[in-house]
């Protein structure tokens, strides 16, 4: 039944976003990009794709940071076009997508201020999708209470900060705890909002958000081994959604090493292959902890790309907008990686990106 009324307000934008999606780089594009010798070749190859002449006005020795910034700017322009042409409830859905970036920006500004960095430099490093008006005022951060009362209470992030107002002072550990608590509240809120939109959007977004929650749970667990984070504190950071909730979350809260994490994840069919390093370990020798973590991160990204591609198989739902933003981000990470490998002449690892289509 969603097909009968969806096109009234959102049909045009769905057509636009599917047009954007058909312009994402394919295997053949990546093949020609990996064969470039210099960054100038790289720029020429990209100008034949949907990116067009996005690097046209850049001065001659290109840097990979510029390429990444300009590519992100194309994504931001596309997103702003969609956002300005949308009406409720799509506009609220698109706003929810930006909240994740806003949280990252807020944490970046607080951390930077604590380490006495320059305000302008910090503001330039913020993600453009997560900019809100009162951001510069965050640079006068001393404690969370004051931050909340003066700045955050007017932003859409206000309800997410309520749970962490009790954090005493801001140091590096507490800031990470704040970031994860706020992100947990955001994910749960997004999940509930999507459930109110109903039918197909809820179906598609539930599977994507559930995986996101599980991924954060696993990352928090693995990163908190051998740190001062207590198990109770750790358990409070796990989002209350996803396949690992509630039994898996409880088990992970008590885990002490990576084997226990693997055991918990074996219970969920889709995550069983994440920890399966028997084949590659024999090939490369003992990977060590760092290797396992990197491999896990790679597998998480692959799973995320897979779930986001599935969203395009359904018509008349909002999940295509979320998935497009995530897939475009992955593509920008890919081209940044390839550009870095070309610039540093590390051609043996140039194929270590995750192709999308």
């Amino acid at each position: 039944m969603e097909g009968l009324f969806f096109n009234v307000n959102n049909g045009f934008l769905e057509g636009i976003v599917r047009g954007y999606k058909s312009g994402t780089l394919t295997q053949s594009h990546y093949a020609s990009l990996t064969q470039c010798e210099t960054l100038e070749d790289f720029k020429t190859q990209l100008s034949a794709t949907d990116y067009g002449n996005f690097l046209a006005n850049e001065p001659s020795p290109l840097s990979t940071a510029t390429i990444a910034d300009k590519a992100t700017q194309t994504l931001v322009d596309q997103f702003n076009f969609l956002r300005s042409n949308s009406v409720e409830p799509l506009s609220k859905f698109l706003d929810y997508i930006t909240y994740g970036y806003m949280i990252d920006n807020v944490v970046l500004l607080i951390t930077g201020t604590l380490h006495e960095r320059d305000t302008h430099e910090l503001l330039e490093r913020c993600h453009p999708l997560g900019i809100f008006d009162t951001m510069p005022a965050l640079c006068v951060a001393t404690n969370v209470e004051e931050l909340y009362q003066s700045v955050l209470v007017e932003t859409p992030l206000a309800p997410y900060f309520r749970d962490c107002l009790s954090a005493a002072d801001l140091d590096d550990m507490n800031i990470e705890i704040i970031r994860n608590t706020v992100y947990k509240a955001y994910l749960e809120d997004f999940y509930n909002y999507v459930s109110t939109i109903g039918s197909t959007t809820a179906e598609v977004m539930h599977s994507i958000l559930a995986f996101e929650a599980d991924r954060r749970t696993m990352n928090i667990t693995i990163n908190s081994f051998d740190t001062e984070l207590t198990k109770e504190q750790r358990a409070k950071l796990f989002p209350a959604i996803g396949r690992l909730f509630p039994a898996g979350n409880n088990a992970l809260a008590k885990a002490d090493d990576i084997d226990q994490v693997r055991q918990v994840c074996e219970n969920v069919g889709e995550y069983r292959s994440f920890f399966d390093n028997s084949g590659s370990a024999q090939a490369n020798g003992d990977l060590g902890d760092f290797g396992v973590a990197a491999q896990l991160e790679d597998r998480f990204f692959r799973m995320e790309v897979h779930l986001n591609k599935l969203a395009f198989l359904q018509q008349f739902q909002y999940g295509v907008f979320y998935s497009y933003v995530k897939l475009k981000e992955q593509e920008i990470r890919n081209i940044t990686w390839i550009a870095e490998c070309i610039a540093q002449d590390a051609r043996d690892r140039i194929h270590d990106f995750i192709p999308i289509f």
């Binding site: 009968l4 057509g15 018509q315």
Partner: protein
Amino acid sequence: MVYKTYASFGLSTFLVVIVALYLLFTDSGEAFDVGRFLEETSPFVWGSLGIGLCIGLSVLGAGWGIFLTGASILGGGVRTPRISTKNLISIIFCEVVAIYGVIMGIVYSSKLQTVPEAQLYTRDNYFTGYALFFGGLTVGFCNLLCGLCVGVAGSTAALADAADPTLFVKVLVVEVFGSVLGLFGLIRVLTRIACSVRHTYMIEGLSCVQSVRSMSSMMIRQDMADQCIVTEDLCPCT
């Protein structure tokens, strides 16, 4: 939001119950008389309603289908302009549904003739009124659902064509099957009308087979059962 459903259902049920109890307790329970309602409403009401619903619902279906497809063609055509010409076929399929409704409306309206009040409430006229009403309703709903079906399929066809040109013809086959639904309604009702021309029940002034007409003027006051038996061999569609 759930409260809105509770309120609407609750209020309407409440009103119906109040009216029913009022009639019951003021000893006018017999004012609620379906048979009298059917006998006293003019056949013109039923006939006109049928014609109105026929055209109205058909056009609603066609319009709905056109906006469903059109929005997707516009969106997909921004990046892939080549789809805009080919996908007008989907819009034409929806449009055809409205044309079916108009044709039936015209055919039906030729069945309505002015009849003086005294001769209005006859068995033939009742039949014609009901036949027009239900025929119009049939065509209207068939075309409404056909328009919706073609609209959704057309929207998918436009987006699939924008992604991969070889998919267009394949999704078009689905649309063709969908548009046949409207045709079913049209054919069924047209054969019904052709049948009723040769049937004994007819309104004054319709052209007819002479022999049947003479027989019908004799049978007009007889039992329905008798007429059915007599006219069975004349009408192939009873």
